[in-house]
Amino acid sequence: MRRTHIQVRLNGEDTDLLCEPRQTLLEVLRDELRLTGTKEGCGNGNCGACNVMFNGRLVNSCCVLAPEADGAEVTTIEGVAEGDHLHPLQQSFLEEAALQCGICTPGFIVAAKALLDDEPDADADRIRHWLAGNLCRCTGYDKIVKAVQAAQGQSQEAPTR
């Protein structure tokens, strides 16, 4: 099949690649760019395991065609930490043990970051509502919501970027 050239600003770096027009952004990230932190839980927009930031918006990358990403700015879970320095959300997921099998976790962290970037003071109901696009079968969400709340405290103290 004919491949299309696209250029993406991926986790802060300009990235060139060839993709087939039918490929999803999720597939390209995982199979072509070896960024396997983004997961496939359903492939049809119902679980959030594939969440990435796309031009500042939270999207399900399984529902985005790769050619659509040409010229876009994309952040995946691999781009959430700064070097060895964990993002406050990653730190609080760690402190609260807000994960078990971990397959949903990259999606949750990306989604929660999208929320807190926009609404740093979101209350618990708002957090639950926002994260309702992400499915977790292991945790019952209790510790996930607590971790997001804990990160709110931290991000107020932490220097803003």
Binding site: N46, C101, G102, T105, I109, R128, L135
Partner: protein, 790 residues
């Protein structure tokens, strides 16, 4: 650093130690099976049946074979030439079940052909191009009609679709002859003041681990060995089964469970796709990969539950229960998988609940239908038992106008009665049911909640309170109770640098064994947590093992790890004694040192003792070089954790939509190694139990079509469906293992489901409602409020 300067190490067991699995998981750097790539990897796709029941007349693969990138297409008949029917793990007679259907299809989603192609999408397209001609047969969907042989036979040779025709158990049943004496049962019901009688269903569920199944198989022709990576709960069982199915030696198979994204029982079974991948890799001499998509997961991963019960309970007017009788009918779907037939027998085993009931009788029938096969799903048989018993107890409480807590208290097995042999033949190890009940009532503010409920009712709101008590059978279990063997294996090595490396056959998929097991070993040896590494999931590294299911990791896997550790510690003491010129019994292991009691300054570090042990000049008499040992262990009995769950629910009068406003859990899992991990296990169980009660149900239509085939039609709880969980625990240790740990992986699902339904019925009791079957669809509740049936 001198001994005196070494830091005092903190206590580890019982502490909230952060999970060491998490750093790789939160950064996206963990490796699950779908993240694996091998050079020359080919991809499988399965063509699956659209029909629930029919005879395969013809399969035309010609178009698929000609598509670019397609390496191979095989029908079931062709595969059957290199792969025999799949083994099962239960002793019941079982129909032949091929990895890919050969002549008949029996459920929607059953594979009929497999394609091998250069990538996943080519394989899919080619599978779509396969034409299958099926002569439809009537679909068998209603288990009670199926038992009459209607409308068709799912399998030849299984009259009236009976997978397991009739198993009686309990009071009056001779376990050797299965002869049944009804006199005690009849007498109890004849003399009862109150009889409760209710048909109840425990509906079919889809496990839905968030990582679907997946497998990579790599046969290396030169070595004649296969490596198989699979999202499995039990790599050692996978290895054994793959070897048997391929007809090769155990030594030719290495099975690896990489990071596994949840299991919940559905990844215990060894599936046709795994056998197919192995057989095809061997045939082609190339690595192959298959990753399930979510719609396949709904159709082709085993389902859970699906058992209905005719429940009869006899009681005195003071609330004393005198007899309980259940006729159980399990709809097991189209085939027997690894443990299918055994799961409902666990329901039978647990029908005494936490109660001292003098007469308990169960009769079990298992029925084949044209649905996806069932197998273990979190709790596996025990949530079903708990649900039936706890609903019946609540119905009794409502009938007598008693507080549901009082009815339970009245009938509890008393704490000095353990070990307690139930009418069903279980030997409960230990228990203190009243303490946990009292704690739950107190934490919930039960009396206050009752007032709030009554107040809300007076205002015209629909509010209910539900309480349920459970006991579970965990820590499986002596070998007599498991076809795989009921032991576990561990190995412990002190490395040359003094660090500890241990292997465990308990291969986790989210349970955090790398953390809890390191806590235990570090404390046993008196070393730092970070100096202990736990390896698991690779049969090339972990010599033997059974796996992670039945809440057995801690009770069985933890115990054997301690035993292996003890052996190595003894040997290490011999080396240290030689070095220190001391008596080995006078040594203490603490703060990373081995020293003579009373003189901590004199000790040797682990690294020093290890270097001596691996280059022992001179070798102390009676000791072999090196510091490594292993252990097998199996418990003599299961463990029986228990607990009490309380919920409060409000139902919207206009829409019928139920909402939980409070969830309180008090669980007793015996000794706890890491409370943070234990809380998480219970949280997840609560969510799944609440999901069953409120929003989850696998639905088939009358043609056997799966109606709930995606997350659009099958709901699992989301963050905004659930309230906070209020957690607490009591500790009643088990005498079955030295740690006193009982296991906790499934507990949350047991109490929460009946507690939620009890709350719904309580809420609807002003409308004369006595029972409602799950799930609690708003429409159903709304109709009940309009005075109609559900």
């Amino acid at each position: 650093m001198t001994a005196a300067e070494r830091p005092i190490l903190p206590k580890l067991v019982g502490e909230r130690i952060k999970r060491r699995e998490d750093p790789r998981l939160i950064t996206g750097h963990a490796t699950y099976v779908d993240d694996l790539k091998l050079p020359g990897l080919l991809h499988l796709a399965f063509k699956r049946s659209d029909s629930a029941h029919g005879v395969i007349k013809n399969i035309d693969t010609s178009a698929a074979e000609q598509m670019p990138g397609v390496e191979l297409v095989m029908t079931g008949k062709q595969l059957a030439e290199i792969l025999g029917p799949m083994p099962i793990g239960t002793p019941f007679p079982s129909p032949d079940h091929y990895a890919i259907a050969t002549d008949r299809v029996r459920y929607v989603g059953e594979p009929v052909a497999v394609v091998v192609a250069a990538d996943r999408y080519l394989a899919r397209d080619a599978a779509d191009a396969i034409e299958v001609d099926i002569e439809e047969l009537p679909a068998v969907v209603d288990p009670e009609k199926a038992m009459q042989g209607e409308p068709a036979a799912v399998h030849e040779g299984f009259e009236n679709n009976l997978a397991v025709p009739y198993v009686p158990g309990g009071t009056g049943v001779d376990p050797a002859t299965m002869e049944v004496d009804n006199s005690a049962l009849d007498k109890a019901f004849a003399e009862a003041d109150v009889n409760i009688s209710q048909r109840m269903t425990n509906q079919r569920l889809a496990p839905n681990a968030m990582e679907p199944r997946g497998v990579v198989a790599h046969w290396e022709p030169g070595k004649e060995q296969i490596t198989i990576w699979s999202g499995t709960q039990n790599p050692h069982i996978l290895k054994t089964m793959i070897a048997a199915q391929l007809g090769v030696g155990q030594h030719q198979v290495r099975a690896i469970a990489p990071e596994v994204g949840g299991g919940f029982g559905c990844k215990i079974n060894i599936y046709g796709e795994e056998y197919t991948a192995a057989a095809i890799s061997r045939k082609l001499g190339a690595p192959v990969k298959w990753i399930e998509d979510r719609s396949e997961a709904f159709m082709a991963t085993t389902h859970g539950r699906d058992i209905l019960a005719y429940v009869d309970l006899a009681a005195k007017r003071d609330g004393t229960v005198t007899a309980l009788k259940l006729r159980l009918i399990a709809d097991v779907g189209a085939y027997n998988m690894l443990l299918t037939a055994a799961v409902p027998t666990l329901t039978m085993l647990m029908l005494n609940g936490t109660y001292d009931i003098p007469v308990v009788r169960a009769e079990l029938t298992e029925v084949f239908t044209n649905k996806t096969p069932t197998d273990a799903y979190r709790g596996a048989g025990r949530p079903e038992a708990t649900y039936f018993v706890e609903r019946a107890f609540d119905m009794l409480a409502h009938e007598l106008g008693m507080d549901p807590a009082d009815v339970r208290r009245k009938n509890f097995i008393k704490k000095d009665a353990f070990p307690y042999t139930t009418q069903m033949g279980a030997i409960y190890d230990s228990g203190d049911y009243e303490t946990a009940l009292d704690r739950a009532l107190q934490n919930a503010g039960w009396e206050q909640l009752k007032q709030e409920r009554d107040q809300a009712r007076a205002e015209g709101r629909i509010v209910g309170l539900g309480l349920a008590y459970y006991v579970e059978v965990c820590g499986l279990g002596p070998s007599a109770s498991l076809p795989t063997g009921g032991w576990e294996h561990a190995g412990v090595t002190i490395e040359r640098d003094g660090r500890i490396t241990a292997t465990t056959g308990s291969s986790p998929h989210g349970q955090g064994n790398e953390t809890t097991f390191a806590q235990m070993l570090a404390e046993q040896f008196g070393v730092a947590f970070d100096d202990v590494t736990i390896l698991h999931g690779d049969t090339g590294v972990v010599k033997q093992g059974i796996g992670t299911f039945g809440s057995r990791s801690q009770a069985v896997g933890g115990t054997v790890l301690m035993n292996a550790g003890e052996k190595v510690k003894k040997k290490m003491a011999k080396f240290a004694a030689a070095m220190l010129d001391a008596n080995e019994d006078d040594l203490v292991f603490e703060n990373g040192m081995i020293s003579v009691k009373g003189s901590p300054g004199s000790g040797k570090t682990f690294a020093e003792v290890a270097s001596f042990a691996y280059v022992p000049v001179p070798l102390p008499p009676g000791v072999e070089p090196g510091l490594s040992d292993e252990a097998f262990w199996e418990p003599e009995n299961n463990t029986y954790p228990f607990g009490c769950h309380i919920v409060m629910m409000e139902i919207d009068r206009e829409t019928g939509e139920p909402r939980l406003t409070k969830v309180v859990a008090v669980d007793d899992a015996g000794t706890i190694i890491n409370p943070m991990i234990v809380d998480g296990q219970i949280h997840g169980g609560l969510a799944q139990g609440i999901g069953q009660a409120m929003i989850e149900e696998v639905v088939y239509d009358e043609d056997g079509q799966l109606v709930t085939g995606s997350f659009m039609d099958y709901a699992i709880p989301r963050a905004d469906d659930l309230p906070w969980f209020e957690m607490d625990n009591t500790v009643t240790t088990t005498p079955v293992n030295p740690m006193g740990a009982k296991g906790v992986g499934e507990a949350g699902t047991l109490g929460s489901t009946p507690a939620v339904v009890n709350a719904a019925v309580d809420a609807l009791s002003p409308f004369g409602v006595k029972h409602v079957d799950m799930m609690l669809r708003p429409e159903k509740l709304w109709r009940l409020m309009q005075g109609g049936g559900a």
